[in-house]
Amino acid sequence: MGRATTIPFGPQHAAFLEPLNVKLTLDEETVVGAVLNQGYNHRGMEYALSLDYRKSQYLVERVCGICSFHHSSAYCQGMESLYGIEVPVRAKLIRTIMMECQRLTSHLLALGHIAEAVGYENLFMQCFREREHVMMLVNRVSGNRVHYSMNVIGGVKRDLSPEAVKDVQATIRDLRPRLEELRRVFSRDSTLSKRTRGVGKLSRQAATEWGNVGPVSRASGIPRDIRQDGFAAYSMVEFKPVVREEGDSYARMMVRMDECLQAADIIEECLPLLEDGPVAVQVKGHPKGETFSRVEAPRGELFYYIRAKGTLGLERIKLRTPALMNVASLLAMLPGCQLADVPTITVSVDPCICCTDR
């Protein structure tokens, strides 16, 4: 047994897109202890969001760039339940379609990021090329690539024109063989599987204890997907959560890959359900009361607690982002692994530090 060494991993590290610091204690090359140090991106979002609920619907999109539509959907959904209104079916379907488009962009980014972390630059670029098709699609549909600004309290601002519906259909049809091609590479490539299989194991028991959500928990065999609760239009479509049992980085990667294909399925299922009708209802007055709102963001369950007091300001708005729980569970995955596997493991939980720190 050699002398234990402590090395800082991050906040600026080639494997991380965002600042996160993991203090690793090493015995030779093996990680024996890890301490997480976060908060580099803390922006006081919860305070800023409580200032003006009408302007907050744009600010919630800025909490995180890769799940912006999920954030605003969760917020608008919560506000709608405070107002006690039912959103038109067409608006719900449009929300579902856009949420799944964003899941595609987010998962393809995460997959590319994993490929990059294991040193597979070529696959990283392939992922980002397919992602670009979806990014351009949402740009054509919503008017912006990242912050769609489509959600308003009571529905959506922009309707899907018949041409846009055809556009979505054509893009997804083109994308599907490319995604299947990517899936074949991700599942069969020997380099990738050597770097990811059996790395960063998280047992089902540990995933329950650490409160993991989203693809991380589903890769450990917990069949829980908030979409089953049927928020937005998910009650109108048929799907089964993607679950794998291995609990390693490979399983987390493959769950995301399969969810990409599932997202394409859900979009195609939603499109024929679109019927003409209003896309938004007007709301009057200020909201009052208290509500919980949850949506399944690409990284897992996104939770909003909103308490309004009948004024422009909100009494309290609390966000529990999925990455907060998933990043914390790194402490369960890291001990016992090799130093060279640390980037793979941290990236495989898809850490979104913007979300984590808010």
Binding site: K55, L123, N139, R140, G143, N144, R184
Partner: protein, 129 residues
């Protein structure tokens, strides 16, 4: 194996990316680029100023100008929606990059949809810390 074949295919095909500053960006119609005022129609009701989520708009009723602080504008389309006289429109092109924060000043003495570009002091006049 499939990765090798696609790598070879990529090697001999045109790049997927474009040389953006030298070629025009691929902006679809309906892209939210920047806002423009048609000052002939503006009635200075201050609705856009009040409703702007980022406080990017400054309405000056006396000087008859509308000023938009460029880097604050998030192109959310709210001002276009609330305008009672359809004065504001959203165009697809983004504004030109600059080395200092800029404001676009729309004034009644300028032609329609044209604006004056003014520079803000660095840090928007806030003291450097």
């Amino acid at each position: 194996m499939s990765m090798l074949s696609s790598s070879l295919k990529n090697l001999f095909s045109r790049p997927f990316t474009t040389k953006y500053p030298y070629e025009p960006a691929d902006l679809p119609p309906g892209n939210r680029g920047r806002v423009l005022w048609d000052m002939e129609k503006c009635i200075f009701c201050r609705k856009c100023e009040r409703n702007c989520p980022t406080s990017a708009i400054i309405t000056n009723k006396d000087a008859k100008t509308q000023t938009v602080i460029r880097h604050r504008c998030i192109a959310c389309n709210t001002c276009v929606e609330v305008c009672p006289t359809q004065t504001i429109s959203m165009v697809t092109e983004y504004s030109k990059p600059d080395i200092a924060p800029t404001v676009h000043v729309f004034s009644v003495d300028l032609p329609r949809h044209e604006y004056r570009v003014e520079h803000l002091p660095r840090y928007e006049g806030r003291p450097k810390d």
